[in-house]
Subunit: 206 residues, 2 copies
């Protein structure tokens, strides 16, 4: 099936399914259904069936989905059945929390390079990865052919960092800086913006 | 207009508009249009007009939207034209990054209480807020009538913390722990899960 046919919003839900399936697998559950997944995730079961139907037939009438098989298939579709090298730019409070966050490596995202502009931080060893001077960012990223990067620098520095990353060959950016990045259309950007999440919830309070 | 009529996905886009308008205001721009906002945000201009039309008429044929007025109106709709007290549970690497993240307080989200279970951390002063024993969570949250909380504890502890928070009166949770929380329908939960964002992007790489 052509990848262009699948809407971004469907792709965005696959990792959510993956997480639920991983959880079921860990609790030794062999089979599940779109109804059960829907209950766990608060998503309609018809939506789940429709989303999965973009990629093939994964379930059987009567028995539903085999948990480990469906999980494996979604992993393949998302290309997370392999390891990915990730560059981290910025080693302030946030960068440190990111570098120490165990969930990245356990899910196959290995922080292979860390950059900071502060000479006091350059050279520090972080769980085996030496912090490098931000000046060498382009060189290191090209050399190791890293395709994904996490930006954890202040808002004012983020656009420049993004430009350098893209120039060096990065194709996907996870941006923690609270600004909207200007990037070419071929570059994927996702944002982590906790304030926006809080602002979404206050609508329902008060 | 009845709040129930506005889909969650529309509410979820309002903070994005708010951020773009704040940016325009900071650059002293007086007027904007759905076309310009669309270009900045990568969202269709028709979508933006339709989203805003849920709440009234904000623009004028010919001149478009007045930036400061539209920004003010969206702030009111989202209830972010006031300050909100937030409780932070967990003061590990991530909790520390959250506590020091300036963007919360500058956007009106004040971390009024910090909790941790580690006796070595309890009593520490964090920019004026003293870390409290997680045992006193319910008592403190009820006493100060805090309605929003951020969970930054390990995955295994998160569900218990969520239960206690809800019991104490919390109505909205921003969850950084990599698990899906089980909560009553009236409770709003938003998730910060960087791994899911990375997993969304790898689909388009490779």
């Amino acid at each position: 099936m052509e990848r262009a046919e699948v809407p971004d919003i469907v792709i965005g839900r696959l990792p959510i399914y993956l997480r639920a399936l991983t959880h079921l697998l860990e609790t030794d559950q062999e089979f599940t259904s779109s109804q059960e997944l829907g209950r766990i995730l608060g998503i309609g079961s018809a939506q789940i069936r429709k989303d999965l139907s973009h990629f093939g037939e994964f379930g059987k009438q009567g028995t539903g989905y085999e948990v480990s098989y469906l999980r494996q298939q979604i992993s393949k579709i998302l290309h997370v059945d392999r390891n990915w090298s990730v560059a981290l730019v910025g080693f302030g409070d946030l960068g440190q929390a990111i570098a120490h966050y165990g969930d990245f490596s356990s899910k196959g995202f290995c922080i292979e390079a860390i950059f900071d502009a502060d000479p006091d931080k350059v050279g520090q060893n972080v769980d085996g990865t030496v912090i490098q001077d931000a000046k060498n960012l382009a060189e290191v990223i090209s050399k190791y052919k890293i395709k994904m990067a996490i930006i954890a620098v202040p808002a004012l520095a983020a656009q420049n960092v993004a430009n350098e990353l893209i120039e060096a060959g990065i194709r996907a950016i996870l941006n923690y800086a609270p600004i909207t990045l200007n990037v070419p259309e071929r570059i994927r950007v996702e944002y982590i913006d906790p304030v926006m999440h809080l602002q979404t919830m206050t609508y329902y309070l008060a």
